[in-house]
């Protein structure tokens, strides 16, 4: 059966942020790529995380040349490609997860070229039909937003842009104006990957963004432990965990679920 959701797209994200805010915490959005360690296991992992009480998802679409990703996600998405992960299969995965009762917002996250190859308008239409709520393209700066902005607006899907510690005020305004749903805040100057410690400047950086950006802020890159989750939960509207969960998911569905559950618990206390 297909899960009936009251809202979808940008609206669904608004509801997600409002609920988290009412509970005095940030929303927790794990990243997981389709096809890792294999297709079935990636779906089982996402379903298990949904049941563990995460707030939303970034559904990773694998790409052969992921320039913003560190070794963990590079290796995982390479395995996924060898397992036959395609854009079409990733959309199918979202459709299947919806029929399995996953109701949290899901954003498709993938590099530009596979989406261009699929057809940008067709992709956004099919993503909406499959049950996705938004789109994050790490190599698409706001300057090139036009490629997806029209179709996302038509379909009511969020189009998320990123900001980084290197972004100046002008770029903060640019991303804030272009983004719908939320702004993805890259916590550090670097590529994805678990880090032992969060950068010391984080609080000031978030404050600087708050001053000129009027969209929810979701922090990603380097968050890997329940302690870090608790720490960022005080600062932002949401946070993303990728590499640490991908590494756990490579071991077993249970390992990923347990890590996610410990983070869910950490931000609720």
């Amino acid at each position: 059966m297909r899960v009936l959701r009251d809202t979808y797209g940008i609206k669904a994200l608004e509801v997600m942020f409002a609920r988290a805010k009412a509970q005095h915490r940030a929303a927790f959005l794990p990243y997981f790529p389709i096809g890792y360690p294999n297709y079935a296991a990636s779906l089982a992992t996402i379903k298990a995380l949904a049941d563990a009480g995460v707030d939303g998802f970034e559904i990773g679409i694998p790409f052969s040349d992921p320039i913003a990703d560190g070794p963990t996600i590079q290796a995982a998405t390479q395995v996924a490609l060898e397992n036959g992960a395609t854009v079409r299969r990733c959309l199918e995965a979202v459709r299947t997860l919806r029929t399995q009762g996953v109701s949290q917002p899901m954003l498709m996250m993938g590099y530009a070229n596979p989406l261009v190859a699929y057809g940008t308008d067709t992709f956004v239409r099919d993503a909406r039909a499959a049950g996705a709520d938004g789109l994050i393209v790490p190599d698409l700066p706001p300057e090139e937003a036009a490629m997806f902005a029209g179709s996302c607006q038509r379909e009511g899907l969020a189009l998320v842009f990123m900001l980084a510690p290197t972004s100046n005020d002008e770029r903060i305004k640019l991303a804030s104006a272009a983004a719908t749903g939320f702004i993805y805040v890259v916590s550090l100057t670097g590529i994805t990957g678990a880090r032992r410690e969060l950068p010391a400047y984080l609080e000031g950086f978030i404050a600087r963004l708050r001053a000129s950006a009027d969209k929810p802020l979701v922090l990603g890159f380097g968050i890997s432990s329940p302690e870090q989750a608790r720490e960022v939960s005080r600062l932002t509207d949401g946070f993303i965990v990728g590499s640490a969960l991908v590494r756990a998911g490579g071991e077993s569905v249970e390992a990923a679920r347990d890590l996610a559950a410990s983070m869910v618990a950490a931000i609720r206390n």
Binding site: V87, P114, V116, P141, I191
Partner: protein, 407 residues
């Protein structure tokens, strides 16, 4: 006041967003977007500064050995029995290839910007050697990413880079060739952007690189255009250059862009032939190559039906790349330039022909351009002039060629 050395005509492409028609742009993670803005501004300031031109011009003359000559290939022309073939001798530039032109230009820019840590990618090793050389000269720290497959087939250049004081970092991801070296260099840049200058070696990547690399390489065509007229009293009927990323080709073509009677011909790597699918002919095989986005720019990209980047093949590491500079995509679309290809076998044959008839051992990359001259010259009248960009010398390729031809 020194003459402005790099001609920068504001009516030229790219446009303000870095587009050459439909191709180009900036498709990179946000973290490096501010660095691209900074680079664009610093480059604009530099080329408006006569001091920068004077410094670069002085190094080109006293260090690189410019101008490089144009050589009449008499015996080759006689053997072909058609057009008179002339060679623009970038193989005689210091380090043995045109890559030094860009490395010095960007190196001076890095120094101006106060960046002391330089990273670069390399395929054949020519850009790595050019960069390592320029950094030794300028006293800057140099790290070169190189695919482990390329390291194996270009040993002499690896040794050269190390000798010049550069660190060569092997890249083990993906196909372990140029494409993956660029991925790693971009990851390094994303991580160290505040202290690091990415010295990109070809006319590709995000704006302003395709423009900046073209401008630094345009000295090739600017010199050749004067030299060939002085030598023959006419403009060439055709200019031929090999195209990997396309920096030597765009450097030659740029000066001739308004000479409508001069045909511009780019030669891609046909590898084992188009039907084999083992090649790097982005414009020749439209089954597997179409407009897409790789390494920050929109251009033709060899990819599967799902948009995953395909591995390419060429006998020459410098042409072994699945995309091509965006300005070439535009020149092709606007029909100002024509693109063809030469196979590994044709390049290898041309490599030997030029060695035997002219006493010039070309780089395997440049041998692709020579192969096209061998095909084309016989179809042209005897009073016509064909100018070939001999972008590099072939010493670095001797191991590869020995491996194929034997002793």
């Amino acid at each position: 006041m020194a003459e402005l050395y790099i001609r920068s005509d504001i009516s030229d492409l790219p446009d303000a967003r870095g587009y050459f028609g439909e191709y180009g742009g900036r498709f990179v993670p946000e973290t490096i977007m501010p660095a691209l803005d900074e680079l664009e501004q610093a480059y604009a300031d530099a080329i408006a500064d006569p001091q920068f031109h004077a410094e670069l011009s002085h190094l080109q003359r006293t260090y690189t050995g410019r101008p490089t000559p144009v050589t009449y290939a008499r015996r080759l022309s006689e053997a072909l029995g058609g057009a008179q073939v002339y060679l623009k001798r970038e193989d005689l530039a210091h380090t043995g290839a045109h890559k030094i032109n860009n490395a010095l230009g960007q190196g001076l820019l890095a120094k101006r910007m106060g960046k002391r840590r330089i990273i670069a990618e390399t395929g054949a090793g020519q850009h790595g050697v050019g960069t390592a050389t320029a950094m030794a000269l300028l006293g800057l720290e140099c790290h070169v990413y190189m695919g482990s497959v390329d390291i194996r087939r270009q040993q002499p250049n690896v040794f050269r880079m190390k000798l010049l004081g550069a660190e060569v970092i092997p890249v083990e991801s993906g196909s372990r060739t140029l494409k993956d070296a660029i991925n790693e260099a971009m990851r390094d840049w994303v991580t160290n952007v505040e202290t690091t200058f990415y010295l990109l070696g070809s006319a590709l990547g995000p704006h302003p690189y395709p423009m900046m690399v073209r401008d630094f390489q345009s000295i090739i065509g600017t010199e050749a255009r004067e030299q060939i007229q002085a030598e023959t009293g006419q403009l060439p009927d055709a200019c031929v250059a090999c195209v990997g990323g396309g920096s030597n080709a765009i450097g030659l073509f740029h000066a001739f862009r308004d000479d409508a009677a001069t045909e511009l011909i780019g030669v891609e790597a046909g590898g084992r032939g188009i039907d084999s699918k083992e090649h790097a002919a982005r414009f020749a095989d439209l089954d597997i190559s179409r407009p897409g986005i790789l390494h920050g720019t929109r251009s033709f990209v060899m990819q599967d039906s799902d948009g995953q980047i395909m591995e390419t093949h060429s006998i020459s590491a410098g042409l072994d790349y699945p995309s091509v500079g965006p300005e070439h995509a535009h020149l092709r679309q606007s029909e100002r330039a024509y693109y063809t290809m030469a196979t590994d076998a044709e390049a290898l044959e041309a490599f030997q022909v030029l060695s035997k008839l002219e006493g010039i051992i070309p780089a395997l990359e440049s041998a692709h351009a020579v192969a096209e001259a061998i095909k084309r010259a016989p179809t042209m009248p005897r009073d016509s002039v064909l100018l070939v960009n001999l972008s590099g010398r072939g010493d670095k390729d001797l191991d590869t060629v020995i491996g194929i031809l034997g002793e």
